[in-house]
Amino acid sequence: MSGTDETPQTEAEKLGGAGPTDTRPTGTRTSAPEPEPEAPSRTHSMLREIASGNALAGVLAVVLAIAVGSLMIALTDERVRDTASYVFARPGDFFTATWDAVWGAYTALFRGAVYNDRVDDFATQIRPLTDTLKFAGPLIAAGLGVGLAFRAGLFNIGGRGQMLLAGAAAGWVAFAFDLPMVIHLPLAILAGSLAGALWAGIAGVLKARTGAHEVIVTIMLNYVGFYLVFFMLSRQGLLQAPGSGNPKSSPAKESAILPDILGERFNLHLGFVLALVAVAYVWWLLNRATLGYRIRAVGENPSAARAAGIDVGRTYIVVMLIAGALVGLAGTNQVLGTVTSGVTVDLDAGIGFDAITVALLGRSRPLGILAAGLLFGAFKAGGFAMQASEGIPVDIVLVVQSLIVLFIAAPPLVRAIFRLPAKEAK
């Protein structure tokens, strides 16, 4: 991370991102100068973070969220409820049942997400981990798209529409052309990113030219994009698979499919690597590129940026284009890697919205988004095993995820709950 990322901030500031309605310059919030006694150097501040208990609070936030999840699992578990009716007669049953339910759920989650100890060969044992990475790929890419927009003070809720359009474009290139792989695959990826960029760009242009609020526009574009893709998927000659009546396209040709990177036995495909490349790119963009510098300037204080010769409207457009391309990468990842059987209107799989949480948890910083994406990918991968083996609806994962984001954002609350001493004032 760059030097600017590391200077200490207040808890709330760290979470990056401006409000959707935050069209005012943010300059005023810096009014009361607060003297900074110590010199923050890069490693220094990280060490201090850990020492000051911020990292501890982070861990406790996760613990707390998991505890709430456990409570829900236990409360709705049949055996627990049965045993609760005679808890005073034989409390052991109740506690065993509760323990079984909760332990069973989380071990299943772990088995599905990281390491499966119930099988013998190593490859199958670590297969869950590769699944986690597979699910993390699009979450990271889309999270970057949302996070980057946040850094420019824009709230991109349009992930769904951007993914759909991107998936449709990539899917179309993938099934409609016969090309060698070296051309076909990049072309399909490019088409997807381009479609995502253009779709998001609409919001950017409208914001820059007419002042239309990007929150409204991106929400509306989600629906418009959905029906547009639906329409194209329902028309022979457009995207619908020839001869089919279902709203679904033909499957992607082999030459446009993201290859598996660990071989046939694993589902992990090149999409994850692309997501990593995207992380590196966004990191470079935000911390080392002039464009990123301008993006951050516009996000932090648009009026100062304008006075410094930065064209705010143009920056909005550029940011939305890049953000859309990143989200588009997630859509591309879906149709060329994860579900290659053809484009459908369901291809976004909720990633467009999950990306918002990922970006928030990652504090709109590329590396943070990477970490958040991996965590959520693990939850996703583990959720399937948890449902299949314990019958617990995957919705519990949503609950735990959102609680983690909330608790991590409010360390004082976590400290209060665990009765830790308040962080020493600097």
Binding site: D131, A241, S244, N246, V339, S341, G350, A381, F384, S389
Partner: protein
């Protein structure tokens, strides 16, 4: 309360007793409580599992992304027969089936032919298909006979073929009646293809209610909602309209499955998913699984029309007889009912 006897542990007992047959089922994004094919498939599988004395492992999907991982999770759980519900799961089922030739797959509502060469794409999949247009034709005929306003209506959840096939058959039936009897009957809400009234989803919500309301506003006095629980919207719209409107159910006999409808339900278009799933699982459990595609028709009673129940007295006396004739005509081919399955 009192504690039960120690070690009465029913689960350990049944586990020991049961064979190692493990039936499993994956829903599509609608979930098992969709009052439609997911639910019926689930009930059929559950019934089979109960009879076989084994436990059914159900998993729900929330989106298309979940299909493949869910199938993988089930394979990892050691399932030997997996029911996948809905055309959306077709591709994932094919992939999983090809990777696990020892497992029996039962795919509801799709032919498992994703390359459209007319052939199933995996040997060990048994597709369950239903030509509901035939039964819907009968419903359309009945509706045309029953209507006093001369307008009958239909609406669907989303313009998927499994939905529009009902609407299509219904329209053809009503038009057949109009032509035969010279009665002026208009079908609103469906024009063929994907043109028609759709709520945009398969949830009982305000969109379902208002779509039904609009159809009633056009003077329809028979209404056919197609798509799981969206008939709930029609129920409220009918109640609010204060008019005498007859409802036609889909999939199961809604008169039985939802007693709230008993005052307004005229009949239901039956789609024998529960039975066919049940039978497929039973055959798999008894090692008699055949992967021949099943197509439910009027002829094999895979689809049909439910009794009129409370409407027995309200429909014309000759209707039941006429319906039998039409049904015979459809079976022997003298009456043609078109549907997407013909292609």
């Amino acid at each position: 309360g009192d504690a039960p006897e120690e070690d009465s542990g029913s689960d350990s007992g049944s586990e020991a007793a049961a064979s190692d047959f493990k039936p499993c089922i994956v829903s599509d994004a609608g979930g098992f409580d969709d009052k439609s094919f997911n639910q019926l498939g689930f009930e059929g599988a559950q019934q089979a599992a109960d009879e076989l004395g084994v436990e059914l492992t159900p998993v729900e999907s929330n989106s298309e992304n979940d299909y493949a991982p869910n199938l993988e999770a089930l394979v990892a759980q050691g399932c030997n027969a997996i029911v996948t519900v809905g055309f959306a799961l077709s591709a994932a089922t094919v992939e999983s089936a090809n990777a696990n030739p020892d497992i029996d797959y039962i795919l509801i509502d799709d032919a498992a032919d994703n390359d459209f060469d007319g052939e199933k794409d995996a040997e060990n999949i048994k597709p369950l298909l239903y030509n509901t247009a035939q039964a819907a034709f009968l419903a359309g005929y009945a509706a045309a006979d029953y209507t006093k306003t001369g307008t009958v209506g239909t609406y669907g959840g989303q313009p998927y073929p499994t939905v529009t096939i009902f609407m299509d058959g219904f329209k053809q039936g009503a038009e057949y009646y109009a032509q035969e009897k010279g009665k002026d009957v208009e079908v609103i809400g469906f024009e063929g293809g994907e043109k028609g009234s759709f709520t945009g989803g398969f949830e009982a919500n305000e969109a379902a209610t208002s779509t039904a309301r609009r159809i009633l506003d056009q003077g329809a006095d028979v209404i056919l909602p197609v798509g799981g629980p969206i008939y709930q919207g029609a129920l409220t719209a009918i109640a609010d309209s204060g008019e005498d409107v007859a409802l036609i159910g889909t999939d199961a006999d809604v008169f039985e499955t939802d007693p709230n409808t008993q005052d307004v339900i005229m009949t239901s278009i039956l789609k024998g998913m529960k039975v066919s799933t049940y039978e497929a699982i039973m055959s798999a459990g008894n090692d008699e699984f055949d992967s021949e595609a099943y197509i439910g028709t009027l002829e094999n009673d895979g689809v049909g029309l439910a009794p009129f129940h409370n409407f027995e007295s309200k429909v014309s006396d000759s209707l039941t007889g006429e319906l039998d004739e039409v049904k015979a005509g459809i079976i022997d081919g003298s009456i043609e009912v078109k549907s997407y399955l013909d292609q």
